[in-house]
Amino acid sequence: MTRKPIVFVALAVALTLGASALAGSTRATGDPGITPTSILLGGTVPLSGVASAYSAVAVGASAYFKYVNAKGGVGGRQINYKYLDDTYNPAQTVQLTRQLVEQDKVFAIFNTLGTETNLAIRPYLNQLKVPQLFAASGDTSFGADAATYPQTIGFFPSYQAEGWALGQYMRKSHPKAKIAVIAQNDSYGRDLLVGLNRGLGGGVAKVVAAQNYEVTASDVGSQIAKLKSSGADTLAIFATPQFAIQSYVFANKLGWKPFVITNAVSSASNIMLLASEGGQNKTVLGSVSVVFLKDPTDPKWSKDPAIALYRTILARYAKGANAKDVYHVYGMAVAYATVNLLKRLGKNPTRAGLIAAVDSMNITDDPFLLPGIAIKTGPGDHFPLSQMYFQQYAKTGWKQFGSLVSYKG
């Protein structure tokens, strides 16, 4: 009983603060986060915890903004990008995003990483009409729900688009393939499988078996054994890094040597390196995947001006960052698109203006993307990237091949 008054006081204080915050926002002129000399963007990424490797997307973007700032910024305004650690936990994403919006008063939420994390803050940001710019996830809903959530836009090709591209590839290059699929049993795995089937388009090549796994599983041995017994000659791996590696390893253990197709998330160079088990596992060689960024480890780009610029920017503005990490390139690609958007907002940037610009993007010169790939949107079309190339894994690493494919949702 003695505690009650304290609770009341706390409530009263909270209410007063809330009320004054509301009052503040209505009285202010112009949108939050914009001053004559600066633009404030904010977002969350996992700087610690299991997914901390992805934090490189924020490091790359931040370095690119600093480079732009050193050259005078956008319309005389410096771009400040504040990113906080949500440890990949949606509960923390919500809390930190509220903090960024209500206390730091950011102009827009930018480059928040992950599917669940972005889904968790989407209703809140749309209700307050705060732009949720370039959610770093391939979940199809970020583009498909543009009518319900106009403030939200993703960036990289949707998982359905990736699956579709792989399906098209199989249809053309391996028209008689019998495909077995191992997929994570959530929207990520499902979207890829839906896309794959759509890309195969009822041809002779088809999915003969599909197994999924729960993220809480310890291994996928049983599933791979079952897929092998289906008589398939091709294995599609739509998994997260650890289970992607396991899929290769278990196939090898079973003496199964299928042709492997895999999506971007399952095919990072370090995954392939671990899966090859020091060169013993030959199933890894010849795997086909999709790619849309310039890979800094690919000798093809060693003399490319954009990759040279990338190295310079990283060395100057992100000391100690590993230049081989393609996630940094991703960060710069998305930052480049952002700078392009901000430039179009003119002298008095507003959130409404930003969303209007988001609805009409046509960026064909993002130097960090592979040649020919355009960032394109329209009203109700919030899929900025829908073009990609294929790549095949050789002993020396991934090698891009073939011509550009464009997904039409």
Binding site: S218, S222, S229, Q280
Partner: protein, 294 residues
């Protein structure tokens, strides 16, 4: 038929891993009467030590494993003396809560020290497979099961024929009387923790080559290991390994032949095993029934 046998073989391989960690759980339960929720994380930590020694410092496998086991023993002993011993006098719940705290602490520490990146640990066994009538059997998996059985035999001999083993049993069964006959109970409980951590390190070294090492490697395995330990009888080393193998095979067959279980309901299936055993046969398959006068 080939598919059936392949699922059995693959289940035995997973089961060997569950059994190896279950052994560590059983040992701590036998030695100190509690369940250590941090067992999985401690095993992962030990595996990281092995990884650091072999990959970062270029040590050959066996000396690295020996040093890892020694460090694990010391670590387990230290954790007991510093963290568990002060709360041991009160209710069992306090110890359980402390071990849950340890779980979070060690997991955080691992991510902080080694990052969340996936790492590979080499297996001491060859990665070749033998083909028997269309069923692929991996030598690595045979090794895992072999080591688990070997450890059970060693443990049995240790508890039965050595003075320390006898004293450990005495300290666990009746601490007060053991103390009266001159057994240094707190020290021995620490030895129990040390040994269990060592077993955890072995489980980690067996698990990592197939599952691959990251800070959460043992979290999924731990739940299956609990189920295995409960199924086999929480105080029986033989039961732990048999329980692990049965569980591995059972879950694979359930997932393959019962459609609605599939891969999605593996974990609930394991949990229902725990529940069913506790309800209908609390002592498990090989455990001793505890009778208390009230």
């Amino acid at each position: 038929m080939t598919n059936f046998l392949q699922q059995v073989v693959s289940g035995l391989a997973s089961g060997g891993i569950y059994g190896a960690l279950a052994l560590a759980l059983v040992l701590i339960h036998r030695a100190t009467g509690v369940i250590n929720f941090a067992q999985g994380e401690m095993a992962t930590f030990s595996t990281y030590i092995l990884w650091t020694l072999t990959q970062n410092h270029g040590w050959p496998y066996w000396p690295a494993l020996a040093v890892t086991l020694a460090i694990s023993f010391a670590g387990g002993f230290g954790v007991h003396q510093l963290v568990v011993r002060p709360v041991e006098r009160g209710s069992v719940l306090r110890v359980v809560i402390v071990t849950i705290g340890l779980l979070l602490l060690i997991n955080g520490a691992m991510t902080w020290i080694w990052s969340g990146e996936v790492r590979s640990v080499h297996s001491p066994f060859p990665t070749r497979t033998i083909d028997m009538g269309g069923v692929a059997i991996s030598i690595q998996d045979l090794g895992t099961i072999g080591v688990s059985i070997g450890v059970v035999i060693l443990l049995g001999l240790f508890f039965r024929f050595t003075k320390v083993g006898l004293a450990l049993r005495a300290a666990a069964t009746n601490p007060a009387e053991a103390r009266l006959v001159g057994v240094r109970v707190p020290l021995l409980l620490g030895v129990g923790w040390g040994l269990a951590t060592m077993l955890g390190a072995i489980a980690g070294a067996l698990t990592a080559p197939t599952v691959f090492l990251d800070p959460n490697m043992m979290q999924a395995v731990l739940i299956y290991a609990f189920a295995a330990a409960v199924l086999g009888g929480i105080d029986s080393p033989v039961g732990a390994v048999v329980g692990g193998l049965l569980l591995g095979v059972g879950l694979n067959l359930l997932g393959t032949y019962v459609n609605f279980v599939g891969a999605d309901l593996r974990l609930p299936a394991a949990l229902s095993v725990i529940l069913a055993v506790l309800l209908f046969r609390p002592a498990g398959l090989f455990g001793h029934r505890v009778v208390k006068r009230v």
